[in-house]
Amino acid sequence: MSRCTGCRRCETACAFFRTGTVSRHLARITVVNLYESGIDAPVVCVQCAERYCLVCPEDALTIGSLGQVIYSATACTLCGLCEQRCPIGAIKLTEHTLIICDLCGGKPRCVEACTEGALTHRPSGDPVSLEKYTEMSKGKNPDQKRKIFVSEQGASLRTRWRDGH
C-alpha cells in the first residue's frame, strides 16, 4: 500500500485482458482512491483463510489448485450471497455474471502492469484472515466494503508517514 500511487494500471490491465475494453466494473481488481487521506490501494480477492464466498448454495464457486476461486457461470443463479458475504468487496455481481479474481491461471496481469512494485503474487505462505472486517462491513455495499478495508489498512500507513516526519 505504501507504494501504490493510485494509477489503476492494475485495473485497466485486468479489464483489458479479460474483455478487450477498459472499465472499472469489468475489472477483477478495484482501486480505491481516498483523496481525504492520500491513501490509494487495490482491492482484490486475497484467497482468504475463511473463504466466505464458498457459502454459495449452488456450489458455483470452488477452489482451484493455485488457491484461486473458480467460478461456474452455468451453476450460478446470480443470487448475490457470495457478494454479500465477502467482507472486502472483492466480488462484483453484474446483471449477467459474477466477477472475481482467478489469478489469471498463475500469472496475474495486474502484477505485470504495476510498475511500482505495489502488487506481488506469493503463491506460498499462510492465507490472510479477513475476520476482523466481517463485523465492520456487515450490510454495506461492495464499494463501501472496499472503502472500509482500504481505510482501515491505510490508518497504520498514515501513522508511519506521520512518525517518519
Partner: protein, 597 residues
C-alpha cells in the same frame, strides 16, 4: 450507444430549466477535431454568443474528452474545460489529469455542454443514465475534498469522480479553478468562476459503460511500444522522483527561474525550495493520474498540511517568484490554493506584482486599501489569499486579477504586470527560452506555455534541430532563429495531446507522441484509418480555428507580444545575462508560417 473509441453521445444540460438532452455524437463532425480541446473550441465557435458576459448564464461551459481517454494508453487521463474566460474575455480553457476523465468516458458522453444557471447552489450527478440535479446548500464555501467526500458519501459510492469549485469559484474570483481527484486542477483562465456564476458547485460523474476500441491487439502493441519508450527515457528517474518540481534547480541553473517577480533569473536560496528538498523532507509517496506509468505526482505531509503536489508552477509561484525561501509555507499554500480553488500562477502574479510595485513606490499601501506587501512576507501572503478567495476587503478588488486591477493605476504599474492578453505569465523567464517567449506571445488563451511547450529548445539536440527545424539554432535556447518552426510544430503536438487527452509531460516534454504514433493509436481506437499527414492537417485547421475565435473576440496581432521588461531589460546575472527577446521578428515569422494576415 458506444462507438469505437468514443462514448457516442453528447450531453447538453440547461441549468436554468434543470433539464438535459442527449444526442448522438456526429462522427463526421468529430473526426476532424478528434476530441478534447479541439472539439471544445469547435463547439464554442459554432454555438457561443461571442458578446456574452462570461459570468452570465449564456456563457457555455464545455467539458471534453477524446477517443483514447480512459483506455490502455498511458496517462490518457485528461479532460479539457472550455468557456469564454472571465479573466481575459477571450478563449478560455484548461485541462486536468487525475481520474475524472476516465470516469466521464464510462458515462458514454464525449462532451458535456452546460448553459444557463441554477438559482441556488447545486451539483450535477451525471451517469450513463442521465443527469440528477442536486441542491447542496450544505456545501456553500466547502473546500474541494470535503465536497468530493460529501458527494461520494451521499450516493454511497467512492467510484464517483467529482470536479468541484471551492469558495473562490463560488465568489467568482476571475482566476478560480475547477479541481478534481482531490488536487488535480483545471487552473487557468478562470473556469471555476464560470461554474460559480452558474451556481454549479460540482459535476460528479459515474459510468457503467466500457472504453471500447476498434482494434484491441493493435492498440496493445502500440501501447507496449510507447511504454517502453517512457520507461527507458533518460528523464524517467528524475520525473518519478520529483515530477515537474525538478524544474526549480533546472531553470535556476540556466538563469531563468523567476525571482522577485522576474527581476532576477537566479535564486540564491534555490536549494532550500527545490524539488530535491521537497522529495527528501516531505514526500511520503508517489501519486499518479489514471493509467500512467511515470507516477510523477507526489503526496506530502508537512506539519498540519498534507496534499498531492505541488507542481513546479505552484512551488515557484509561492517561493522565488514572491521572494519566499520557506518551502513549508509554499506547501501550505499548495494545499490551501487547491482546496480554495485558486490558480497558483495568477494568484502568485497578483502578489508579486504588488510587491514589486510597492518596492519601487509605484503603488502605495493606500492604493491597496492599507495592504503592504514585501518580499517573502508569508503572513501577509497567507492572509491575502484567504481574502481573495472570499472577496473580503482588498481581496474583492484583487479577485479581478493583476492585469485588470492595474488598469486603475499608472502606465508604469500596468507595464509591470507580467501578462499577455490578460493571462499571467508562467514561471519561466522568456529572456532565456525564446521559443517559450514566442509561445507566451501567440498562445490563444493568453500567456501560456502549454499551447506549444517547446521543450526541445532546452535539449541541445543540434543535429536533430537542423533536420527537423532547418537550423541548429532551434536547439539553442538563447537564439530566436528557428523558433517559429519549432513552435508551429510543437503547438500541433500540444493540441494533439489535448485532443487524444494524453499528458503533455509525457507526450510533449518527453517527446513521446508524434503524428505516426498518434495515427496508429487513433486508428486502433476508432477504426477510422488516420494517416500522420491527415492528422497534421487536422491540427493546423484547429489552430486556425482558435485564431478565428480570438479574432471574433476582438484580439489583434499587436497583442501577440510580451511585457516590455522581457523586450528591453536584460537580466544582470547568470547564464542568461544580457539577453532580451526580439518578439516581433519571431511573431512575424510565426504568422507567415500560418499564412495568417
Amino acid at each position: 450507444m458506444a462507438i469505437n473509441g468514443y462514448g457516442g453521445r453528447i450531453l447538453r444540460v440547461d441549468l436554468t430549466e434543470r433539464a438535459f438532452q442527449i444526442e448522438p455524437t456526429d462522427l463526421d463532425w468529430m473526426k476532424s477535431v478528434i476530441g478534447g480541446r479541439a472539439a471544445n473550441s469547435k463547439r464554442l465557435l459554432e454555438e457561443l454568443d461571442f458578446s456574452c458576459d462570461p459570468l452570465g448564464p449564456e456563457n457555455m461551459l464545455i467539458m471534453g474528452i477524446g477517443p483514447l481517454t480512459g483506455t490502455l494508453l498511458p496517462a490518457s487521463a485528461y479532460y479539457t474545460v472550455t468557456a469564454k474566460s472571465p479573466l481575459t474575455g477571450i478563449l478560455g480553457d484548461s485541462a486536468a489529469g487525475g481520474h475524472f476523465a476516465a470516469e466521464m468516458k464510462l458515462t458514454g458522453f464525449d462532451q458535456i455542454i452546460i448553459t444557463g444557471a441554477f438559482e441556488s447552489l447545486s451539483y450535477l450527478l451525471i451517469s450513463t443514465d442521465g443527469v440528477e440535479f442536486v441542491e447542496c446548500p450544505h456545501l456553500i464555501n466547502a473546500p474541494i475534498i470535503e465536497t468530493t467526500c460529501a458527494i461520494r458519501k451521499a450516493h454511497e459510492d467512492t467510484a464517483i469522480q467529482v470536479a468541484a469549485i471551492g469558495p473562490a469559484g463560488e465568489h467568482c474570483v476571475s482566476y478560480s479553478t475547477i479541481v478534481s481527484s482531490g488536487n488535480r486542477v483545471n487552473g487557468r483562465t478562470g473556469m471555476g468562476a464560470v461554474m460559480g456564476s452558474k451556481k454549479l458547485k460540482a459535476i460528479a460523474v459515474r459510468g457503467w459503460q466500457s472504453a471500447k476500441v476498434a482494434d484491441p491487439p493493435l492498440l496493445l502493441s502500440e501501447v507496449r511500444a510507447l511504454e517502453k519508450i517512457i520507461m527507458s527515457h533518460p528523464e524517467y528517474g528524475k520525473r518519478h522522483h520529483m515530477g515537474t518540481t525538478m524544474l526549480m534547480q533546472d531553470l535556476n541553473s540556466i538563469g531563468i527561474l523567476p525571482t522577485n517577480h522576474f527581476q532576477e533569473g537566479m535564486c540564491p536560496y534555490v536549494e532550500r525550495i527545490s524539488g530535491e528538498a521537497l522529495a527528501e523532507k516531505y514526500k511520503v509517496k508517489n501519486k499518479s493520474c489514471f493509467n500512467c506509468n511515470v507516477h510523477c505526482s507526489r503526496y506530502y505531509i508537512c506539519g498540519q498540511h498534507e496534499a498531492e503536489g505541488p507542481e513546479f508552477e505552484t512551488l515557484c509561484s509561492f517561493t522565488s517568484r514572491v521572494g519566499n525561501d520557506d518551502l513549508a509555507f509554499a506547501l501550505k499554500m499548495n494545499a490551501v490554493l487547491n482546496q480554495m480553488g485558486l490558480d497558483s500562477i495568477s494568484t502568485g502574479e497578483v502578489i508579486g506584482w504588488i510587491m514589486e510595485c510597492q518596492e519601487k513606490g509605484i503603488l502605495t499601501p493606500e492604493d491597496m486599501g492599507g495592504l503592504s506587501l514585501t518580499w517573502g512576507d508569508t503572513d501577509a501572503i497567507g492572509d491575502l489569499v484567504e481574502k481573495i478567495a472570499y472577496r473580503q476587503g482588498i481581496g474583492d478588488l484583487l479577485a479581478e486579477g493583476a492585469w485588470r486591477v492595474s488598469q486603475r493605476f499608472s502606465g508604469k504599474a500596468r507595464e509591470l504586470v507580467m501578462q499577455v492578453k490578460g493571462l499571467d505569465i508562467i514561471c519561466g523567464d522568456p529572456r532565456g527560452i525564446k521559443a517559450y517567449g514566442l509561445t507566451y506571445a501567440i498562445s490563444s488563451r493568453g500567456a501560456d506555455h502549454l499551447r506549444a511547450e517547446p521543450y526541445f529548445e532546452l535539449t541541445n539536440r543540434k543535429k536533430e534541430a537542423l533536420a527537423r527545424f532547418g537550423t541548429v539554432k532551434a536547439a539553442d535556447r538563447l537564439s530566436e532563429e528557428g523558433k517559429a518552426p519549432l513552435v508551429t510544430y510543437s503547438e500541433k503536438i500540444a493540441l494533439l495531446c489535448d485532443s487524444v487527452t494524453m499528458c503533455k509531460n509525457i507526450g510533449l516534454c518527453m517527446d513521446v507522441l508524434n503524428f505516426e504514433h498518434a495515427a496508429t493509436l487513433l486508428t486502433a481506437a476508432t477504426g477510422i484509418p488516420y494517416t500522420p499527414s491527415q492528422l497534421e492537417t487536422a491540427m493546423e485547421q484547429c489552430i486556425d480555428r482558435d485564431h478565428t475565435i480570438n479574432t471574433r473576440f476582438g484580439v489583434t496581432r499587436d497583442e501577440d507580444t510580451l511585457p516590455a521588461r522581457f523586450l528591453t531589460e536584460p537580466l544582470t546575472r547568470g547564464p542568461t545575462r544580457g539577453s532580451t527577446v526580439s518578439i516581433r521578428k519571431m511573431v512575424d515569422e510565426y504568422y507567415a508560417l500560418h499564412h495568417w494576415e
